[in-house]
């Protein structure tokens, strides 16, 4: 469903964030991307919904080639949910408005319909009672769940998560991971950048290890954690699993 091939991204003259990435993700598949800081994980995710324009290469979602200049990116992005490390909720709008806004403006849904979908999604992520609160009144974990609901309300074909729990206090991490786990069970196609190996084990169909702008290797969580093929992968997992 998602096909990334020969993806290069260079910032300025000599920051090579991506250096030839190939990745395919099937419908319903959950892929966890791991790798050391600065290896290009965020850049890869951001290239998939074209928040970052790749220097080279192809990104294709559901038959639409996004790297084609003629594609209406707004329409494509509406089908690709993204969850950020910093939540990025709209602080001047209530939780309900946050979840309704794009439904109304992009999907053209009526107020009643958008409101109903929003409430369903808030229910889905476990905070229906916060509909009328403002983002700053919520804990980090709650904010991130609202961000997930906001993305889900657009009925995306795929969800991208960029370190969704890295900005959270430890006690709030699990509430967000549980929502993500639930999504994965419901068959959502997901690409997740995270350091939460427990989540990877429980939810991932495939774990992809990146280093220096390239995919070093990928496999099932079992293969990757217990029997990685490359020294770099082994070193990386040794480091993060023993911290």
């Amino acid at each position: 469903m998602i096909r990334v091939s020969g993806l290069y991204k260079t910032f300025g003259k000599d920051i090579h964030a991506l250096r030839g990435v190939d990745l395919s993700v099937d419908s319903g598949e959950v892929v966890v991307v791991v790798g050391p800081s600065g290896c290009g994980k965020s850049t890869l995710l951001r290239s998939i919904n074209m928040l970052e324009r790749p220097t080279h290469g192809i990104v294709e979602i559901d038959g639409t080639v996004l790297t084609d200049k003629k594609v209406n990116l707004d329409r494509v992005r509406a089908d690709v949910g993204m969850v950020f490390q910093q939540f990025n909720l709209f602080p001047h709008r209530t939780v309900l408005d946050n979840v309704m806004l794009a439904q109304r403006k992009v999907r053209g849904r009526s107020k009643a319909e958008a409101g109903e979908v929003a409430r369903q999604q808030l229910e889905h992520v476990g905070i229906p009672e916060k509909a009328d609160a403002y983002p700053r009144q919520l804990s980090g974990g709650q904010q991130q769940r609202v961000a997930i609901a906001r993305a889900l309300a657009m009925n995306p074909k795929v969800m991208l998560f960029d370190e969704p729990t890295s900005a959270l206090d430890p006690e709030m991490i699990s509430e967000v991971l549980e929502v993500m786990l639930k999504l994965s069970r419901e068959g959502m196609t997901m690409i997740v950048v995270t350091h939460e190996m427990g989540f990877a084990r429980a939810a991932a169909d495939r774990v992809v290890f990146m280093d220096e702008g390239q995919i070093v290797e990928s496999g099932t969580p079992g293969e990757m954690f217990d029997n990685p093929q490359h020294q770099r992968t082994r070193d990386f997992f040794d480091k993060i699993l023993s911290h």
């Binding site: 707004d74 950020f84 910093q86 990025n88 709209f90 001047h92 794009a102 403006k105 009144q137």
Partner: protein, 242 residues
């Protein structure tokens, strides 16, 4: 203390002979002063918004046009700029469009002058406000499928506006004060009226005391209204927390 001064000035302006004569003559200009400040400010807001957006646009041409305009305005003091708009820009544009110069009243030329000048300053205020909204907000909007414009309109600008209401208020007061400069292009606002009246009556002291009183009341009144407005905005924000 200030209230006492205003009180004394007010007493003279309203109840003391000759002062009150000056007041009665000059107050005809009040409407023009207020109107010009208001229109000038409103048009400056529109120009400032467009120029501010242009300044951060991804379009090179828009960016450069906006920057040139802003730097041009900032490079010339207010009074010469008023002359420049009045005697150079407006007549040139009128010629170019083949209109009759008389069809544009001095009052409107003055308003354009103020609007062009303050548009340049407000552009920077808008730009600062927009840039104070974190990059993540734009990305969140775009990632949901909103266009650049829609994201600006529904997400970035409402947040930027809250950050820039205090400086905008200050510029409104400044524009009100600067309407006095328009007396130099013969617009019959209150300063011009004070000049006319004092030259005819030789009541200089009376005329300029009344004039000062009028500005004090206008500026203090406006400051008061603006602070009330600001307080309402902040109360609204504080209320959200509770």
């Amino acid at each position: 203390m200030l209230a006492a001064i205003v009180g004394v000035f007010g007493y003279y302006s309203l109840f003391v002979e000759r002062y009150n004569d000056a007041f009665e003559f000059m107050k005809e200009g009040l409407r023009l002063t207020i109107e010009m400040a208001l229109w000038g400010f409103l048009i400056a807001l529109a120009i400032g918004l467009v120029a501010g957006l242009g300044r951060i646009s991804r379009n090179v041409v828009a960016r450069n046009v906006a920057r040139t305009y802003i730097e041009f305005i900032r490079g010339v003091p207010t009074l010469p700029m008023i002359f420049f708009v009045n005697y150079v820009i407006v007549p040139s544009v009128v010629d170019f469009l083949n209109l009759d110069l008389q069809s544009i009243t001095p009052q409107w030329r003055a308003i354009f002058a103020l609007a062009l000048i303050y548009g340049g300053y407000l552009a920077e205020v808008f730009r600062g406000g927009i840039q104070s909204v974190t990059k993540g907000q734009m990305e969140a909007g775009r990632s949901l499928g909103l266009s650049y414009r829609a994201t600006m309109r529904s997400i970035i600008l409402p947040q930027a506006l809250r950050a820039i209401i205090p400086p905008l208020g200050n510029d409104f007061i400044a524009i009100l004060k600067d309407t006095s400069l328009l007396s130099l292009i013969a617009v019959r606002e209150i300063t011009q009226n004070a000049k006319i009246y004092s030259n005819a009556s030789f009541d200089f002291r009376e005329s300029y005391m009344v004039l000062t009183f009028m500005y004090l009341v206008l500026v203090l009144g406006l400051s008061f209204l603006l602070s009330r407005f600001e307080a309402r905005m902040t109360r609204y924000e504080a209320g959200e927390r509770s």
